[in-house]
């Protein structure tokens, strides 16, 4: 019951054609369709029609983030709960975007548009009957699935409170600097985060991330990014926060991407980890290097 997972991110790109090429051949996602100025992608191990939507615009950034709920009828329940909490909720009709059913839409205290939905076409991953472990035609980095995103805004506490108290997200980690809640890492799946919220400019995106299975896959992703001259940001390295293995880089429009592997598997009763000014900037962000770069800390789209 409830929110299952991060289902989709819709992002703006400034060069549609170049972005489609990058997400197809460098990131290695499957282009499912192009319609009405949008391109729809899925990662190879996902069953749903898409997890990434690109739309052309004059600046990069996040259009909306969608979380998938277990049952269609839960949309009514969440709509009511959100309105009781004091959030205005709108409806998105079936078919407003390709392959999608209806959704409820609202704005988080940090300014991002979030949707909850259940219905979406399900072509499957093609590995359901006596399957091989992965498809034969993979190219590029080819992550199996979309993993999480990190959003920014002033009201970290507000967005965290809404996600935890109305949508029943659980906290894996929090950053408290000078007694102020600065970042939270929240999950519905048994991973370290499906969404994270950090103090910063309102309504912005820091990155969205795809999952990889091992350190070796992260290293190979780094090789592939270098070979294709993709703008690198940080890594391959380990985060102190979440223990995850990571590389950060930029898509052709300046949206930051991450490939992420590892971390731990928290349950709903996990006791959250806390980072403070004592160790967050040195061991929390990039565990090995002991410092973050200015670009990583200040660039949001």
């Amino acid at each position: 019951m409830g929110v299952m997972r991060l289902g989709r991110v819709e992002v703006r790109v400034t060069d549609f054609k170049q972005s489609i090429d990058y997400y197809s051949n460098v990131m290695g996602l499957q282009l499912m369709a192009q319609e009405n100025g949008r391109a729809y992608f899925k990662a190879w191990d996902e069953d749903d029609h898409h997890s990434l939507i690109l739309v052309e615009a004059d600046h990069p950034g996040l259009v909306h983030v969608g979380f998938k709920v277990r049952r269609e009828e839960e949309l009514d329940r969440f709509e009511k709960a959100l309105e009781e909490y004091g959030v205005r909720v709108g409806r998105v009709s079936k078919g407003e975007r390709l392959a999608e059913g209806q959704a409820i839409r609202f704005t988080l205290p940090t300014g991002q548009v979030m949707e909850l939905y259940h219905e979406i076409e399900r072509p499957g991953n093609g590995l359901k009957l006596n399957p091989d472990p992965y498809p034969a035609n993979l190219k590029g980095i080819a992550p199996p699935h979309l993993d999480h995103l990190l959003i920014s805004g002033d009201d970290v506490k507000g967005t965290t409170d809404l996600l935890m108290n109305v949508l029943d997200f659980h906290m894996s980690e929090q950053v408290i600097l000078q007694e102020e809640l600065t970042a939270t890492f929240l999950f519905r799946t048994n991973t370290t985060h499906d969404i994270a919220v950090i103090k910063g400019p309102d309504a912005k995106l820091h990155h969205f991330a795809f999952a990889l299975n091992s350190w070796d896959d992260v290293l190979r992703a780094g090789d592939w990014l270098a070979r294709n001259n993709i703008a690198h940001d940080e890594g391959p390295t380990r985060h102190g926060v979440t223990r995850g293995l990571t590389i950060y880089f930029f898509d052709p429009s300046g949206n930051r991407n991450e490939v992420f592997s590892g971390g731990y598997a928290p349950g709903p009763d996990f006791i959250p980890v806390t980072w403070t000014e004592e160790r967050f900037f040195t061991r929390g962000i990039f565990y090995h290097r002991g410092e973050s770069n200015e670009r990583f800390s200040t660039v949001f789209t």
């Binding site: 400034t14 060069d15 004059d58 600046h59 990069p60 950034g61 703008a231 930029f250 898509d251 052709p252 429009s253 300046g254 949206n255 930051r256 200015e294 670009r295 200040t298 660039v299 789209t301």
Partner: protein, 94 residues
């Protein structure tokens, strides 16, 4: 071969050359010149914003959120999206 132009960084006493069909940032990086801050290299983040004090250039597509029309008027550019059409004098403003 396309012509090469001089790019002078006025506040850092640095100078390098840039081909007409290359952007100011990539060419600096290629030559190991670390005067300009590198961001996303996609005209999206504004990290490489500099001001052109003199010279002619061609500016490609930039995010309107990080380079406003007013800034363009005043000679601000994103180095990753700027190709020289003459010798240039640029200033890195912190």
């Amino acid at each position: 071969m396309k012509p090469r132009y001089r790019v002078m960084v006025s506040d850092q006493q640095t100078e390098y050359t840039c081909r007409q069909d290359e952007n100011l940032l990539s060419e600096a990086l290629n030559q190991g010149i670390r005067a300009i801050k590198r961001g996303c290299l996609g005209g999206g983040c504004g990290f490489c914003k500099v001001r052109v004090e003199s010279g002619r250039y061609e500016l490609g597509k930039c995010s309107v959120k990080v380079l406003t029309p007013e800034e363009k008027e005043r000679g601000y550019v994103l180095a990753c999206r700027t190709k020289p059409l003459s010798d240039l004098m640029i200033r890195i403003e912190k």
